[in-house]
Assembly symmetry: C2
DNA sequence: TATTGTTATACTCTATAACTATA
DNA sequence: TATAGTTATAGAGTATAACAATA
């Protein structure tokens, strides 16, 4: 394989992306904490606010072991943000679903995440379009 | 304050940035694990490979409490990657420094982080320049 | 037999509070 | 008295292994 040269420009962009990642992550944790949630809890609640999901599938999306999901859902359920439902097709499966309160919280949380939105306001529509296209090409085609 | 409109293009870019953040984070953890390090340990080792740093300053850079740094440095020190040195100017202060083995590991680790480099190879030099400028404007002027 | 979710265990990261040795 | 680092403690996320219920 061809060695990727690391010219100064590439290194600068890599560094900028690192900064974006750090800032995004910090803000996500901070906003989650504002709602009394950990980052992992906020991510799961965000997932479930889109659609009810089986425990095992949640683990896949989080890239962690299924055993960990039990505790995260336990804590969200204890606060009335999530509930476990049986799967009518397979009695082994439990489906976690956001309650109405959970969906409310998820929406507020999403609205509070200004990071990726306010800085973008600095850019014109055309520039945002360019940024979109460049990011898309960086990320390549990898539908999850 | 003016409400930030969230037009479809902005939302798309926000989503793309979220994907970049997730992928970057996952790869960082995975590469660290390949060297038997946790993400936090790898980040600290990376810092110390650039310059020896007092415990308190490490906590500031990690945005965590100083008490946590003790354990992280303990574990890195137990593996011979880091050492504690006294500060000649203030006997309360301990300065953590990467050993030669630690600097080696940090360099290998850095070289293994292909994420932000290989995808950029998809872009021309001019496009990387555009991306750099857009990211810089997004991030604004905030020297750490 | 294989799979789903859970439990039990151990490790790391995290914040808080109390302690020590310096300043 | 204030500060740097540590220790003690508790909560949370993580992986691994073993288990019950179901397929």
């Amino acid at each position: 394989m061809a060695t990727t040269r690391t010219d100064p420009l590439t290194l600068e962009v890599v560094d900028l992306i690192g900064t974006v990642v750090a800032r995004y992550h910090d803000e996500y944790e901070e906003v989650a904490a504002r709602y009394g949630l950990t980052g992992a809890q906020a991510r799961v609640l965000g997932l479930l606010s889109l659609e009810p999901t089986a425990m095992r599938r949640i683990a896949q999306k989080l890239k962690c072991e299924p055993s960990n999901v039990t505790g995260i859902i336990d804590r969200l359920e204890a606060r009335g943000l999530v509930e476990r439902r049986p799967d009518p097709d397979d009695r082994r499966v439990k489906i976690a679903a956001a309650t109405e309160k959970g969906r409310d919280t998820a929406r507020q949380l999403r609205d509070s995440l200004r990071f990726a939105r306010e800085p973008l306001a600095e850019l014109s529509a055309q520039e945002r379009g360019v940024l979109r296209d460049l990011l898309k090409r960086m990320l390549g085609e990898s539908p999850d």
